[in-house]
Assembly symmetry: D3
Homo-oligomer: 69 residues x 6
Amino acid sequence: MKYGVRNSLQATVTKVKKGDIMAQMDCKLEGPIELSSVLTCDSVADLNLKEGDKVMVLIKAIHVIPVKE
Amino acid sequence: MKYGVRNSLQATVTKVKKGDIMAQMDCKLEGPIELSSVLTCDSVADLNLKEGDKVMVLIKAIHVIPVKE
Amino acid sequence: MKYGVRNSLQATVTKVKKGDIMAQMDCKLEGPIELSSVLTCDSVADLNLKEGDKVMVLIKAIHVIPVKE
Amino acid sequence: MKYGVRNSLQATVTKVKKGDIMAQMDCKLEGPIELSSVLTCDSVADLNLKEGDKVMVLIKAIHVIPVKE
Amino acid sequence: MKYGVRNSLQATVTKVKKGDIMAQMDCKLEGPIELSSVLTCDSVADLNLKEGDKVMVLIKAIHVIPVKE
Amino acid sequence: MKYGVRNSLQATVTKVKKGDIMAQMDCKLEGPIELSSVLTCDSVADLNLKEGDKVMVLIKAIHVIPVKE
């Protein structure tokens, strides 16, 4: 399986919170890094996404914004 | 400084490759995790982005896509 | 502070409306121009975003779509 | 004509720079505000986009990121 | 009318579901293909979007992700 | 394999054009519908993407913009 994105990371789901249309998923990468995702509740249902699940998270490079302080 | 995004991560720039309009920046987070960013060459120039720079990378949660294999 | 985006604009928040997962922020730029943002309620809380706040709004150039009528 | 985006702004194109795949368009809104767009060269050709053109620029609210300094 | 996006497709709205801030619209393209859109409830109201409506759907090429299984 | 996106469509690659940093892939869905994707050349190389390939294309619902004429 090959994804046409630069960034694909292994993660463990730590929390899923469903709203009316959108849901938020928090996950933990290796080490101390955590990420949040926002997706539709329909997608959460399709994936049967729940705490403890092992997932890949995909992020297109165009959506990664560097900031220099 | 507070960013209106769920994900803001500290990173060290490992490579900057400039094209005609767009550029690609690779960076290393804590631990073994690497990320790539695509941005305009103009933004690379504004930030004077180069190998070894410490940056924050911002990623809106809406751009993080979980996949279950 | 330098952002790796082409568009960073000064704005004053005119309205914040929170939903269950997502929130909508309206703001006013210089002159007659208004913009809306959608972000998570978590981000609204992190920024303590409220009417009257001075903010910068960042927009990557890739998300600006020209239309010719 | 109605667009399913929160932000649609009138603009005048000030510069178009074409690369191999992607192009960058700069434009001026009312007042002192300028915006940049990145799109494919194919889209620049379809729109016959050039300096002086009047365009609408569309920006989904989800792509507007507030930052509080 | 010319849009600065690579993908503009004719569609018929099959369902609109409104949440507090965001809404989801499902539509049908020619043939067996269906697409979903997420937009603000404000945009749904602006377009008076409802089942049976004929719409164009715009998708920037940068948001189309190929996957090879 | 389950993707956390609303839209996943089967497609056949009809053209791949590489630039310096970014590449453009055109593909054909079932019926008369064609889509274009923009991704990094690195991703094209990772997927070994070429004319005739069968791919899935993923599109998050948030990136589908309805327009009513």
